[in-house]
Symmetry: C2
């Protein structure tokens, strides 16, 4: 297994995903020319169409990669907190912070939904929502939060977080808005507690 042949293929795939991710993150999906960013990666569109079918296919692959990274980061955050509730709050804060990163914001929250439809239909629940959902499940089992459907709560928090992030990122004074947003967000989370 893992012959040199398949390794080369995996490398080209990775190159294309990386190139697309850079281009999509910087100038956006619509403005990114496939000839340009494949050329920068030392390839052509031929490779892209072979591996991903079309431009949307590459975007999907990029999204999968980013979602996996976000999920891992979220899991690390919640795992390294002293209490589960604290872990959950940290997780939410981390989610907002990630949504402030230009690449994630652009690809995950702007172009992704516009091109591929809502996040819900990308696959059976993306990882970053599943991570929030899982944390809520444990809190519920511990009796720390009120009786609420955890997936619904996860999606509510997901929606609220991403909007907070967009609000902050596009504000004239991001620091000021950030304080207001995080404070309000924490207040909302407290409402879930018993």
């Amino acid at each position: 297994m893992a012959r040199p042949r398949t390794e080369m293929i995996a490398k080209t795939r990775a190159k294309l995903i990386a190139a697309g991710r850079h281009a999509f993150g910087r100038i956006g999906y619509a403005e990114a020319s496939m000839d340009d960013f494949t050329g920068e990666a030392g390839l052509t569109r031929g490779a892209l169409y072979h591996h991903f079918g079309d431009k949307k296919g590459l975007l999907q692959a990029v999204l999968l990669e980013i979602d996996a990274e976000m999920t891992e980061r979220l899991n690390k955050v919640s795992a390294s907190a002293p209490t589960r509730w604290q872990g959950f709050v940290d997780e939410c804060a981390a989610y907002i912070e990630m949504a402030l990163e230009p690449e994630i914001q652009r690809i995950m929250f702007r172009d992704g939904p516009a091109v591929l439809g809502d996040i819900s239909q990308w696959q059976n629940t993306p990882g970053c929502i599943a991570a929030l959902s899982h944390s809520l499940d444990r809190l519920k089992a511990d009796g720390e939060i009120i009786d609420i459907d955890t997936e619904t709560a996860a999606r509510l928090i997901n929606g609220a977080s991403s909007h907070m992030a967009l609000w902050i990122a596009n504000a004239e004074k991001p620091e000021t808005v950030s304080k207001r947003a995080v404070a309000g967000f924490r207040t909302m989370l407290e409402g879930l507690r018993k």
Copy 2:
């Protein structure tokens, strides 16, 4: 005032906005050909570029119209409720319901942010957020809700609502998901109450 000349101009503008709104709402911004939908309106792209500068300009005009309609609907809902709290809850429910309408969902929540950037920077706070904010202001003045920054709360609710709507709209069983979503949403709102 209101000479026949200016009336004609207003009519062409209205025609273009209506045509664009239809096309954007049905097949999406990117897939909508300007030649097609201007032709259906009995005009050409020349008129569009004259009045709106470019394709994005038309989208902005469409968004302004939709936002105004949504604001009016929200204000009516909150005004016709027995109590202010009830008015606010109804308003939130109405917001989710509006977000379920395909045209609003597509233009306002998907293509709009992707093409023009986050809703926050379209203008100084769009009307539908201002409406929620206003309702919260009055509730706060009445001492019905906890101490929270009202604009932040309005944006939290706005974000949560739109995500709920997208979740519902794209679910396999919208009715089932709708019940879960609305129930969870109400629970979250109750957390704002004193």
